[in-house]
Symmetry: C2
Subunit: 168 residues, 2 copies
DNA sequence: TCTAACTTTCAAAAAGTTTTGAAAATTCGG
DNA sequence: CCGAATTTTCAAAACTTTTTGAAAGTTAGA
């Protein structure tokens, strides 16, 4: 397969993949393009390569910067801004986990704490089922939260090593 | 907080949460409702409780059954079909992981295998960056795949115990 | 077999999300 | 400080997904 074709396929699949994970297609495609680009690109490079509008490009680059997956780079003697993606995939994964944990898991756990304190007779089976469900989700959620914290701090080599050892 | 209000909040948050995970709002809400219902519900119960149309309800129940998160229950002497959700959250999580692994991770890994065999000089930095990126994604993806396989087979107690021990 | 109860389908409408592109704002070299 | 280059904004348009509801299909018991 030619590089050009392979690039296209990667960008397009990464985009489709992203949509299953709550990331919009364009954002994932820009990320894919930057991941496989050896040098930083300008907004115009990205617009041209992916054939998308200026506004769309700008918006999604900014969102990627928010997620800390992409960085602005200023090349000496150049007026334009360049952009580059973190290439270390382990760091990328950790960064995504960190953000989603903060944005989604933590608020959910806070809500569950509140909901667990529902009024009413524990003997009422509606109350009982509700409280039991909430508690068990909370238990698993808290464990996931702790586990992810360790993962976020871990080195790839340590993490893979441990996985290898215990999950052969 | 009253049970009714707590239920509403749980259903609505679970729905919002779902949308961040590629699950549609209604499907997640039906799942939430069944999780906290002590007894099986009919399609009409669900329609009324969530205030959604017959078609929408039917479609999303079927989708939940596809995901094996909900089961049809036939009560003796009743014409109507009843529905109930798996209440063991660990089983629910394993089931979701299993499905998403099959639907998303595995196809991605297959694609990466193909893309890694791109033609061209390894010295060309475009080729090199492309191949390196693909390889490192693949490496992590394969490891994740193996780890998830073990998790899918594991008992909750074993899994939590291990997590506790190594990720205190 | 017939029929009422129940379930499924699907085209059209509504809702939600993403994209565009032109205008406004900002920035930097001279 | 000026003006060209560049970046950002945002309302409207395009596109995608979800929802509705009526009609078609199925089922079980009499």
């Amino acid at each position: 397969m030619k590089l050009t074709e392979a690039k296209q396929q990667f960008i397009s699949s990464w985009g489709a993949f992203g949509t299953h994970w709550g990331i919009n297609r364009t954002m994932a495609q820009i990320h894919a393009l930057l991941l496989i680009s050896p040098d930083p690109l300008t907004q115009d490079d990205i617009m041209e390569e992916l054939d998308i509008s200026r506004g769309n490009t700008n918006m999604n680059i900014r969102e990627l910067i928010n997620w800390r997956l992409v960085e602005r780079v200023l090349l000496p003697g150049e007026r334009k801004e360049y952009f580059t993606a973190e290439k270390d995939i382990w760091k990328v994964v950790k960064q995504i986990v960190k953000e989603r944990k903060k944005r989604e898991l933590e608020p959910m756990l806070q809500l569950l704490d509140k909901l667990e304190e529902v009024d009413g007779e524990k003997k009422d089976k509606h109350v009982k089922t509700f409280v039991d469900t909430i508690s068990s989700i909370k238990k698993l959620g808290r464990q996931a939260d702790k586990t992810l914290d360790v993962m976020i701090k871990a080195e790839e080599s340590w993490f893979l090593g441990m996985m290898m050892k215990f999950f052969k």
